[in-house]
Amino acid sequence: MPEAGEGRGRTPVPVRLPASREALAGLRAGDPVTLSGPVFTARDATHARLLAEVRERGGELPYGLAGQTLFYAGPTPPAAGRPAGAVGPTTAKRMDAATPELLAAGIVATIGKGPRSGEVVAACVEHGAVYFAAVGGAAALLATHVTSAEAIAYPELGTEALVRLELAEFPAFVAIDTLGADLYGSAAREWARGRQGSTDDVEEGQ
């Protein structure tokens, strides 16, 4: 399995959503990115509903989700003139059990925080999907990169409803790439081994 690098620089790669498989294949674990375009919020209860619907439909995604990005998040209500006062990533591993099936059905990218299972890494490779990590605890900042919110399904779930958010230059990192490199799996080990993690030399070499 390839190792995640230190990213190829400090300048974020702009990623337009929904992202094509080709665009996703060009990303590498460790790359800082900015995400612009639609994403769909889905967390614990949303996943249970979505998975049931996908199975009912013989493996097909509902609500036009094919080719789209899931954002593991439960926003706070609108505030300060923004669609959500705060919206940031929740812990992705709680969604791991459902993710391979949703990637097989056509979800091409997910956004969350924290490490994921080997099964999710393998599913990213198999389906050419990417897992983006956003910064947990930066939800007031991240909310300034959300321009609109539209309820799509399961309004009775409250903050766990499926909501389409429009992102504008939302900062994130590539955590699992389409080759199976896993930033969370390698970053701590490499740092602890004494690699400085500085990208100065990479940038200077370019």
């Binding site: 300060a80 923004r82 705060a86 924290g114 990590a133 007031a140 701590a188 740092w191 400085q196 993690g197």
Partner: protein, 281 residues
């Protein structure tokens, strides 16, 4: 004997919830700034920069620091020369419901862990503890605890022979296992002693201490320093993306225990340690 009405406790809870949700404690802010100045990882510095920007936006716009505005833990500290009259749990829950609606916080409480996972819709019930203190003061301590950091926590009943080494191993293992998803840099609350049910509260209460202030006792303070160094040597770093700052501080609180016991609890606090304390009356 000083008498305090439970309504005043509710008022204090309301004030504390809103403050904890939207403004980073000055000591936590200072700890993040110091970490940002020290951190050598590019990604780590980028994450810490986002967390500092986040605190500024939350405080300027009065919006929550985090979308997970948590469950509410209330520790009501009552002086032995004071008496609180009235229905404290009802006042506390009413204050929580009001604060979550007025400050536009997220409600995140399931009606029952097993039999009914529907959202109660007002973030009640709060989780209320009462403790006695010397004097006639009454203080409300409030902590908003997110699911990500609480899920990363653990309790273990060690044997007395495991000693300080056993405690250290358990703390470092717990952080190594779960901190990457718990919004690092974390503050690690460690409880050592008391009983199976109380050691978790000891660890949680350690998170109320100003970030990085050493324990009063020299031996405990030395253990804190050792644990912080070992935890940061893990390299998990800000956001779990690699770096020097896995934890901002380790706070250890110790207590008496049974001669056969060495209970240890690790309660992970996220970088924001959202707590506020208010004197009642």
């Amino acid at each position: 004997m000083r008498t305090v009405d439970s309504h005043a406790v509710g008022e204090a809870v309301r004030e504390a919830v809103v403050r904890a949700a939207t403004s980073l404690r000055p000591d936590a802010l200072a700890a993040l700034e110091a970490a940002a100045a020290r951190e050598r990882s590019d990604r780590g510095r980028a994450v810490l920069g986002q967390l500092l920007d986040n605190a500024a936006i939350a405080s300027a716009d009065g919006v929550p620091l985090c979308q997970d505005t948590g469950y509410v833990w209330v520790l009501l500290e009552v002086g032995v020369e004071a008496c609180v009259c009235g229905d404290v749990p009802a006042e506390v829950d009413a204050a929580v419901a009001e604060a979550y609606a007025s400050a536009r916080l997220r409600t995140s409480i399931a009606r029952d862990a097993l039999t009914d996972r529907s959202n109660t819709g007002d973030n009640t019930p709060a989780f209320l503890d009462v403790a006695f203190a010397p004097g006639s003061g009454v203080t409300v301590h409030v902590m908003l605890k997110g699911g990500g950091s609480d899920n990363a926590s653990a309790v273990r009943m060690l044997a007395p022979g495991d000693g300080e080494e056993g405690v250290a191993r358990f703390v470092v293992e717990t952080v190594a296992h779960a901190a990457a998803g718990a919004c690092p840099p974390v503050v690690v609350g460690v409880g050592v002693g008391a009983t199976f049910d109380k050691v978790g509260g000891l660890a949680k209460k350690a998170l109320l201490r100003p970030v990085g202030r050493p324990a009063a006792d020299d031996l405990t303070a030395a253990l804190e320093e050792r644990l912080l160094a070992e935890v940061n040597a893990l390299g998990i770093g800000p956001g779990g993306l690699g770096g020097d700052t896995t934890a901002l501080a380790v706070h250890v609180a110790t207590a008496p225990c049974h001669i056969a016991a060495l209970p240890v609890a690790v309660n992970i606090g996220c970088s924001a340690v959202r707590t506020a304390s208010v004197e009642v009356g």
